[in-house]
């Protein structure tokens, strides 16, 4: 289920056939090599035996500088996956490679070192230390490393500025609003300047308006820092908004991996299609998704970047019926016309209806 995008970029983090089995001994299940096709059957067998495969045969890559979103409903295993990646939870089986090095083989000492310098994590309920003020909370990872005070203070001030918490340094977590607390959480996770950034439903505990604002700020921060990110959410729209690529999980298994447009235009199954139903297509689809490659670019056509959303193209299209030239890095990719937009959207709707007719009895969960 690998996708086309960014195949060339090196993988920062590679996760192969990852399993996490709770309740019961997991090792006997993996004595024989598990081939990809068997995973579902194996998970069913575990459940029948009373074990709980929270994560079953999960495979994906996170590329350098990419926002990789894992989306799933509660109980889908997404939080367990991210904890396996940071080894907060010890995986039962599989392989995790960070910068091509085997993460699961690292000793405790090495792991502490990796967490101190290479990983940062943001938590849903913030996970702030109640007895420390904002400054000390953010400085906490650095002071654990024993970084000298001047350098520590300088780095903390920098991230405080980055998340816009100037002036609140002396406040304690309980004196802050949810949004501000999560800014502290974000700043703390960035203080050690990690390369890999885990965010576990960072905005789920916030009010919708604040959530939206925080998403914008998060994207803004990422534009300047270019971290490699694993972002967990149960909110499909949030995933679409921020993902470079995303993975949908259900019952511990991967349902689909792809760009937001991949998922919307060709959902792998009914489960994914159900999420896409209420999505405002024009906001998600980018110009590059609705190209008419048979047309050639004319000089009088207006030019737009290939990442522009269809929504932003519509006013331009209404005055330029002949089409818009799509550019990326100065090279033209093709032409978007009203017809190509309509055919992309119609194709999508048609698929939905088709699926709904097929989807008679609800498939049993778990």
């Amino acid at each position: 289920m690998q996708t086309r995008s960014d195949e060339s970029a090196p993988a920062k983090l590679a996760c192969r056939h990852l399993w996490k089995v709770y309740r019961g001994e997991a090792a006997p299940y993996f004595e024989r090599e598990v081939s990809a096709g068997d995973a579902g059957a194996l998970a069913r067998r575990m459940r029948a035996d009373g074990a709980i495969p929270a994560v079953a045969d999960v495979t994906f890559d996170v590329h350098v500088g990419e926002i990789f979103v894992i989306m799933g409903l509660s109980g889908s295993g997404k939080s367990t996956v991210v904890r396996c990646l940071s080894r907060l939870v010890e995986p039962s089986h599989g392989e995790v490679r960070l910068d091509r090095e085997d993460l699961l083989g690292k000793s405790d000492r090495e792991l502490i070192d990796i967490r101190r310098h290479k990983m940062g994590m943001v938590f849903q309920s913030f996970g702030l230390l109640p007895h420390l003020n904002v400054f000390d909370n953010i400085a906490f990872p650095l002071s654990l490393q024993g970084l000298p005070a001047p350098e520590r203070n300088e780095r903390v001030s920098r991230v405080i500025q980055l998340v816009g918490l100037e002036g609140r340094e002396a406040s304690f977590p309980r004196q802050l609003s949810g949004g501000q607390q999560q800014r502290v959480g974000i700043a703390r996770s960035l203080a050690a300047e990690p390369e890999l950034w885990f965010l576990d439903e960072p905005f789920s505990a916030l009010d919708p308006l604040i959530r939206r604002q925080m998403q914008d700020e998060f994207l803004h921060i990422q534009n300047t820092l270019k971290k490699s990110i694993v972002f967990i959410t149960h909110d499909f729209l949030e995933a679409l908004r921020i993902a470079d690529r995303m993975m949908i999980m259900r019952d511990g298994m991967v349902v689909q991996v792809g760009t937001p447009a991949d998922l919307i235009l060709s959902p792998a199954d009914d489960y994914v299609a159900e999420f896409t139903e209420d999505v405002p297509m024009v906001r998600v689809l980018k110009a590059s998704d609705v190209l008419d490659s048979s047309r050639t670019v004319q000089p009088e056509m207006p030019q737009r970047d290939a990442d522009t959303t269809v929504e932003d193209l519509l006013p331009v299209l209404s005055t330029h019926r002949e089409g818009i030239a799509m550019m990326r890095d100065g090279v033209s990719l093709g032409v978007v016309t009203a017809a190509s937009v309509i055919s992309a959207l119609a194709h999508d709707r048609h698929q939905h209806r088709h699926r709904q007719q097929r989807r008679a009895p609800e498939p049993p969960r778990s």
């Binding site: 904890r83 940071s86 907060l88 502490i112 070192d113 990796i114 967490r115 101190r116 310098h117 990983m119 940062g120 994590m121 938590f123 849903q124 309920s125 913030f126 996970g127 702030l128 230390l129 109640p130 007895h131 420390l132 003020n133 906490f140 990872p141 654990l144 490393q145 002396a170 304690f172 309980r174 959480g185 703390r188 996770s189 050690a192 885990f198």
Partner: protein
């Protein structure tokens, strides 16, 4: 008749037991052993225990005594330091500490308390007590924190520590004293060790709870920040759990102080508890009240001080946070102490308070009490004899013995007896038809109990009844445990004393539970009642048990009635607290729903809130019993004849066997009552299902 038919087998067992009880009573002239366990059958457990103890003291005693001598060194040092310090220094430093921890109100109160000790002339005694506390609290906190952390970190350690704590909680404080006394010899060290042993369990419990309750995300955040295991424990887990841990410090401090006071009964400490005991024994109530107030004030200051530390919000020190800034208050306290100390060198009365300035109004107090007692002798005696003849005696020795022309004003003629039996039978029949055999048997048993009295019921019947109750409330294990524990009391020959204890404590618990639930109910409905009760409850609960006795002894003199009142005064507190808490915390949605159906306030209370609050109220009963048993031993000081008295006899004569058998007996009774009431609470809870979250 359907109820009768639907009765379960165990209801019929109960009925059979009731009939068997009657049969035993009928046979008591023929075979007295059925009613009173014969002395000849008593196992010589006491001599065995004494022999064991002699062996113990001979073999390991020297080691313990050497330890005791070692501990004595720092203790003497602290005591001498506190006594050497000029009073003005102690006053200044303590007041400053109170101000720093909790603001000027507590500072004012602390200053007042210290001045009171000084002016009343109990300075040395107070400092001696304080010295004991100053050593025992840090030790108990250290031990408790260590064990709590160990129990948290290691599952194996927890499996040992948790049941150990349960056991220690139910063993009355005095039972600790005896073995310690024999092993460590007389003197203040015994008080110290007893107080550490008595005080550390709450610290363990709170430490473990606090550490376990730190949210998993905080821990994960610590791990992701790259904390090593020891950094995670000391810099993430412990500070996050600090509030709960400090709550443990508060409880441990109060327990340690309470035990320091109780331990003074051994003597040799010349502290404030000894002063109270001494004067109380000499019936100098004015004096013992004055000394008791010192204890009460010390308890209140310690409680408020440690509680303030537990609830204080972390403050930002600000600035560059150098050594001085971080420990500013400590520096100021030391500086203040030094300054006042220097001043005291110049001004003599700041160093040694002149005796001439002491005010000791004991005589006035004694006169006032005498006046009160003489003036209201009629009322006091009326209350006393009424309670004694109409409430206490019937339960203790039964109506058959109690009703005489002298007590009730008429003879318990055969005709009246027949009437009583007929009335009871009618009630039993009615219950049998309406509520089934089980209830009817219970009523029948109560009727028999009231007629013959608890102390005169046949032991096999009581044993069987208690075992059955244990089976019903807690299953087979509790039934076996109950039978074994009561069996021990019987073969050890302390059954009669045990029944006296059960009678006194049971009566006090029933009355205080009824009173407490009533008050709690009012407090839950009326905020004004709640606000009025809270400080009274706080005071009663922080007061060392000793002190509660004083006012009751002053007015009602020594005797069982006084003991009853004292136990009630202490045991009523948890009943009130749990009832109010339970009723106030009934899920709001349920109350709203019931209101929408048109419940009146009364219906809401009786038909919605009370049933939902029942599990927690039953936990209140559990605590009421535990408090009652704790106070029972203390109350034995003022004349009761139960196991508590036996403990004193053991202590007084150094008779280990007698004391330990009595102590164990009380512990067993406490444990049975504990498990049974918890069983009841659990049954209620299961019937209600899991509490809806809200």
């Amino acid at each position: 008749m359907s109820r009768l038919a639907a009765s379960r087998p165990r209801d019929w067992i109960r009925a059979v037991l009731v009939l068997a009880t009657l049969a035993l009573l009928a046979l008591q002239d023929v075979a007295g052993w059925l009613v009173v366990y014969p002395d000849a059958w008593v196992l010589p457990i006491t001599p065995w225990l004494n022999a064991f103890m002699v062996w113990c003291v001979d073999t390991v005693g020297p080691g313990f005594r050497a330890f005791s001598a070692t501990v004595d060194v720092p203790m003497t040092a602290v005591r001498e330091l506190l006594n050497w310090l000029p009073w003005s220094v102690v006053l200044a430093v303590l007041t400053f500490v109170a101000w720093a921890a909790a603001g000027w109100r507590l500072a004012l109160f602390t200053g007042f308390a210290v001045l009171y000790m000084l002016i009343i002339g109990y300075w040395t005694e107070s400092m001696n007590s304080l010295a004991l506390v100053a050593i025992s609290v840090p030790t108990a906190v250290g031990v408790g924190f260590g064990l709590g952390a160990l129990a948290f970190l290691s599952g194996r350690a927890e499996r040992v520590i948790a049941p150990g704590l349960d056991l220690m909680q139910t063993v009355p404080a005095f039972a600790y004293l005896l073995p310690i006394l024999l092993l460590f010899g007389f003197g203040p060290v015994v008080g110290l060790i007893a107080s550490v042993l008595y005080a550390f369990p709450p610290m363990v419990r709170n430490t473990r709870l606090g550490l376990a309750r730190v949210s998993s995300e905080v821990i994960e955040a610590g791990l992701m920040a790259g904390a090593t295991p020891s950094q995670l424990f000391w810099r993430v887990r412990t500070p996050s759990a600090l509030r709960q841990i400090l709550l443990g410090v508060n409880q441990t401090t109060m327990a340690a102080f309470s035990m320091v006071i109780i331990a003074s009964i051994i003597g040799g400490t010349a502290d404030i508890g000894w002063e109270v005991l001494l004067t109380m024994r000499k019936a100098q109530f004015g004096e013992s009240l004055l000394a008791g107030i010192v204890i009460a004030l010390m308890a209140m200051v310690m409680d408020r001080l440690t509680a303030a530390a537990a609830t204080a919000e972390p403050k930002d020190p600000g600035g560059d946070r150098g050594l001085f800034a971080r420990h500013r208050n400590a520096f100021i306290a030391v500086g203040l102490g030094l300054a006042v100390g220097l001043l005291a060198e110049l001004i003599p009365f700041l160093k040694a308070y002149p005796e001439a300035w002491e005010i000791y109004p004991a005589q006035y107090l004694n006169d006032a009490v005498t006046w009160l007692v003489v003036e209201h002798a009629g009322t006091i005696n009326l209350i006393k004899s009424w309670a004694f003849f109409f409430v206490m005696l019937p339960v203790k020795t039964g109506l058959a013995q109690t009703i005489t022309p002298f007590t009730w004003g008429f003879e318990f003629t055969p005709g009246l007896k027949a009437g009583y039996v007929a009335l009871a039978l009618a009630l039993v029949l009615y219950m049998a038809v309406r509520r089934g055999v089980g209830r009817a048997s219970s009523i029948a048993f109560l009727a028999i109990l009231l007629f013959f009295g608890l102390t005169r019921l046949p032991w096999p019947a009581l044993l069987a009844m208690a075992t059955l109750l244990g089976w019903q409330l807690g299953g087979l294990r509790l039934a076996l445990g109950t039978a074994a524990a009561l069996g021990f009391l019987i073969v050890a020959g302390v059954w009669p004393q045990a029944m006296l204890s059960v009678y006194l404590c049971g009566l006090a618990v029933l009355l205080s539970f009824a009173l407490g639930v009533g008050l709690g109910l009012l407090a839950s409905e009326y905020d004004a009642v709640s606000a009025a009760l809270r400080p009274i409850n706080d005071t009663l609960q922080t007061m060392p048990l000793f002190v509660i006795l004083i006012p009751f002894v002053m007015i009602f003199k020594i005797g069982e009635f006084t003991a009853l009142l004292a136990i009630m005064a202490y045991a009523v507190v948890p009943a009130i607290r749990y009832a109010e808490h339970a009723l106030r915390n009934v899920p709001a949605q349920v109350v709203e729903a019931a209101t929408c159906f048109g419940c009146t306030r009364r219906q809401l209370l009786w038909r919605v809130k009370l049933p939902l609050a029942m599990p927690v109220i039953m936990l209140g009963l559990n605590q009421t019993i535990m408090f009652g048993i704790a106070m029972l031993v203390i109350a034995a000081l003022v004349g009761t004849n139960g196991l508590g008295q036996q403990v004193y006899i053991g202590l007084g004569d150094g008779d280990f066997g007698v004391g330990i058998v009595a102590g164990l007996g009380m512990a067993f009774i406490a444990m049975i009552a504990d498990r049974m009431t918890q069983g009841v609470s659990r049954t209620w809870q299961e019937r209600l299902g899991p509490t809806p979250r809200q």
